[in-house]
């Protein structure tokens, strides 16, 4: 019984953040129209990729002559973090079968992952909570992107409305939510510095991984100092 409750509770717990996901989904939908991504392609991405930031990057790189390798590399580079997100879910899936793992992992996104990790700190939950959140996000994401696509016919210049900044804005907010105290400041600054430098020096999206690695590795060193 509590299993079904977890599914429902996970769905409900993701509704507030779902509002934001809906909004920046609609921004993506609008951008799709500008970039010539068709509605079918958008829906396929939503269902089978289900990763907002990667979809933003893909749509951003979409042109009439598609750079297959470039787009795939950039998208997977951004999604590399899902490997680590998957690894961080180890305690939640500790009593789960392989089948459950294969079933529930597809709908893991930044938002339901963050909500679940936060919840798991205070309460005993099953992977169904995560999956319920994923269903909620899939629903609002599909609704938002499709709505934006239909609206996109009428919006000639989304940048006038600051809509291209929505993605940055939502991730800034999510980042603030992850702040756990002074020990975060230095690793975050190192990540910021590295990402900006690498973005300037190297082509493509390698700066995202470079910044994250630099920041996280520096945290290991700084924490070690703390312990002794």
């Amino acid at each position: 019984m509590s299993m079904n409750n977890d599914l429902r509770n996970g769905f409900i717990a993701n509704m507030p953040i779902g509002l934001s996901v809906f909004t920046y989904g609609s921004v993506l939908g609008i951008l799709c129209v500008q970039k010539g991504v068709t509605l079918h392609e958008l829906i396929f991405m939503n269902l089978f990729i289900f990763a907002g930031s990667a979809q933003f990057v893909m749509v951003d790189m979409w042109t009439s002559s598609l750079d297959i390798i470039g787009i795939i590399t950039a998208a997977l580079m951004i999604n590399l973090r899902y490997f680590l997100i998957g690894a961080s879910l180890h305690p939640l899936f500790i009593n789960s079968s392989k089948t459950e793992k294969f079933k529930y992992m597809h709908l893991v996104a930044d938002e339901n992952w963050a909500v679940t990790i936060d919840k798991a700190k205070r309460q005993n939950i099953t992977p169904l909570f995560l999956f319920g959140g994923g269903l909620c996000l899939l629903f609002v994401w599909s609704l938002g992107t499709t709505g934006g696509f239909l609206l996109g016919e009428f919006i000639k210049n989304p940048a006038d409305y600051g809509l291209d900044f929505a993605f940055v804005a939502i991730f800034t907010a999510l980042c603030v939510n992850m702040y756990q105290g002074g020990k975060d400041i230095l690793p975050w600054m190192i990540a910021a510095l590295f990402s900006v430098t690498c973005e300037y020096l190297f082509p493509g999206k390698i700066y995202i991984i470079a910044g994250a690695l630099a920041g996280s590795l520096s945290a290991l060193y700084l924490n070690k100092e703390e312990e002794t």
């Binding site: 909004t23 396929f44 787009i71 590399l80 893991v108 975060d184 690793p187 995202i208």
Partner: protein, 101 residues
């Protein structure tokens, strides 16, 4: 009306398979390396530093307005914990600056 182009299907398919593999393999391989304390610490910092690296260059590119919007987003988020409100104010600041400054 909207035709499906073969190249775009290949791209979507490859990204979909790759992304799912990353999600599942992270979880399946996790028991191999979570026993190391260092790895856990590293994993703990990774999500936030990834997000910082994802957004910071974009904020810098936006210039002063980007920084001002970011400060507003951070303060509102810290005080209210409301993602939507924070995002709305951030986008509004950028939109106003583009139209009126």
């Amino acid at each position: 009306m909207s035709e499906i182009n073969f190249t775009s299907l290949i791209i979507i398919f490859c990204v979909a398979v790759g992304t799912y593999s990353l999600r599942v393999s992270g979880l399946l391989l996790s028991n191999k390396f979570v026993q190391y304390k260092k790895v856990n610490q590293f994993l703990e910092y990774l999500p936030a530093t990834l997000i910082v690296s994802l957004i910071f260059p974009a904020i810098i590119k936006e210039g002063t307005v980007g920084l001002i919007a970011t400060i507003f987003i951070a303060v509102i988020m810290y005080k209210t914990k409301n993602v939507f409100l924070s995002m709305f104010v951030g986008v509004l600041i950028v939109a106003l600056s583009r139209n009126f400054i």
